[in-house]
Amino acid sequence: MKVVFLYIDPGSGSYLIQVIIAAVLGALFYFKNLWWKFRSFFSRKKQEPPKNDNENA
């Protein structure tokens, strides 16, 4: 069996939180992309797809 040394405590829902955050960010990214495709469909200029930088500090 592989021994995992965990000397910092990852518990208390840190994993659960990352799962939720990743889901939220994933959804945001998905809709951003969708919005970009929608916009580029109606504009003639070819644009670069947006980067996934969620700037919500």
Partner: protein
């Protein structure tokens, strides 16, 4: 019968990670890699990650030694890391120093992921500043990446980097004060209570602070929740793409955070003072004249303010510039970063209340006074602030300066009739006397020989160059 349990010879701050430890032999620091960390260590080297990290100056370099110097049965390898001249702590860094350290940690993580490795911890104590830039110093922080799992050090990263930066950004609560109280990170629940209400509508704050605070409230720290705990290796449902989304989000948030610092007491100190230009020019001329005859490689500028004289010192030596005003130090840090000046290190340290020793047995993190020894201490327009602003008796000051310097002291005397002193005592009915040049010389004369002494033209202020007497301490 009692069993003899020898204490491992590790450095007092190097005990948390069972993968190895740092120890010192004859003044040189070594790092032991223990057997339990062997596979991760080999991957760090063989994947090319170590080579890339060190080539980009992101990680401290090391050499391997064949012998088991520590004598520990767990020994796998002994490393001689590049030796660092000065260790500084996150509660001494200014806002942008902590922010750069955070971004540096994420950059290391990003590169690690490309080599199928991940950071198992994300503590600011793993970062040191060398040549003006952050440097990752913990070779034991890398472990093989299991893409099915989220980032094990996510919470530690938030608590010890993101939350103090959030608190400074939104509440103006200095990162130093917060991190000195919570050196292992500020819990989400505490951060949530300290942040202003308006933050609730910021998505980043909600995700990284309020959400964990809510979840933490339902589970006891250290116990782990009934659902959503760490799955078995390879059995998680996470992915690299998800982790990269979180990483990008953290980087975007960090890049937007800033400090206002509008209320800084010492801001525009030189611009605002009417003594300004002529005084500064004359003082600089004398300062350079005094400096010229000296040979020194290290200097400490106490009360450095905007770093005007630190820059001059930097022409001859590596300089530690300290000031109690975190905003001044942040401005200095940013200026140095822009101009790519590498040999001046700003730190937020109040000389009347220097960084204490903290951690287990008060030995884990050394105090400022234990860590700092320089060949030249510079204290310009400072002593009168200590005497009249902070009520330190003049007799108590030279002893501390003598402790910090191994060679010289460049100190300015500002007389009682000086406008700045008058400002300080205007509303005070009691202050320490006597205070005059004669008494000043007598006090400093207990520890130093006065080498040069000149009045700064146009003022009654006196600049002294003193040499520490070998018998003084």
């Amino acid at each position: 019968m009692t069993m003899k349990m020898p204490e491992l010879p590790h450095h007092p701050a190097s005990f948390r990670d069972p993968s190895g430890f740092v120890f010192q032999v004859k003044g040189i620091y070594y790092r032991q890699i223990s057997k339990s960390y062997a596979e991760d260590y080999e991957q760090l080297l063989q994947s090319g990650l170590y080579a890339k990290l060190t080539a980009r100056k992101l990680l401290l370099t090391h050499q391997e030694l064949p012998e088991n110097l520590s004598g520990s049965p767990e020994h796998y390898k002994t490393l001689v890391p590049e030796q660092l001249e000065l260790i500084t702590y996150p509660y001494e860094w200014s806002f942008d120093q902590l922010k750069d350290a955070a971004l540096h940690t994420l950059a290391v993580l990003r590169l690690s992921l490309e080599h199928d490795m991940i950071l198992k911890d994300a503590s600011p104590f793993n970062i040191q500043f060398r040549d003006g830039k952050p440097l990752f110093i913990d070779t034991l922080s890398f472990e093989r990446y299991d893409a099915s799992l989220p980032w094990v050090a996510y919470r530690q990263f938030c608590e010890s980097f993101l939350f103090p930066l959030y608190l400074e950004h939104y509440s103006g609560l200095g990162t130093q004060k917060a991190l000195l109280s919570w050196p292992d990170g500020i819990p989400a629940a505490v951060t949530a209570r300290l942040l202003p209400w308006k933050c609730r509508w910021k998505m980043g704050v909600w995700m990284h602070v309020y959400l964990p605070a809510m979840v933490e409230g339902r589970t006891k720290r250290g116990e782990g929740p009934k659902r959503g705990g760490r799955p078995a290796p390879g059995k998680g449902t996470f992915s690299k793409e998800k982790l990269q989304h979180i990483l990008q989000n953290l980087e975007a948030i960090l890049n937007r955070l800033g400090t206002k610092g509008d209320d800084s007491t010492w801001r525009n100190y030189y611009e605002a003072t009417i003594l300004s230009r002529d005084y500064l020019e004359e003082k600089e001329r004398l300062f350079r004249e005094f400096m010229q005859g000296l040979t020194f490689k290290t200097a400490l500028d106490i009360g450095a303010n905007d770093g005007y004289f630190s820059h001059i010192l930097g022409e001859a030596a590596s300089v530690l510039a300290i000031d109690a005003d975190a905003f001044c130090m942040n401005t200095l840090y940013r200026g140095l970063r822009e101009k790519n000046i590498l040999n001046i290190q700003p730190l937020c340290v109040d000389i009347v209340n220097p960084t204490p020793a903290i951690g287990f047995r008060n030995r884990e993190r050394a105090s400022f006074s234990e860590r700092v020894r320089v060949e030249l201490v510079v204290a310009l327009a400072l002593v009168h602030h200590l005497v009249f602003g902070r009520n330190l008796p003049l007799t108590d000051i030279p002893g501390y300066f003598a402790e910090l310097t191994t060679g010289y002291l460049l100190v300015e005397f500002v007389p009682l009739e000086d406008e700045k002193v008058q400002e300080l005592i205007r509303n005070k009915s009691r202050y320490h006397l006597p205070y005059d040049a004669h008494y000043f010389e007598a006090c400093f004369g207990q520890y130093f020989d006065i080498g040069k002494k000149k009045e700064i033209p146009g003022t009654k202020r006196i600049l002294y160059l003193m040499k520490k007497r070998p018998s003084s301490l």
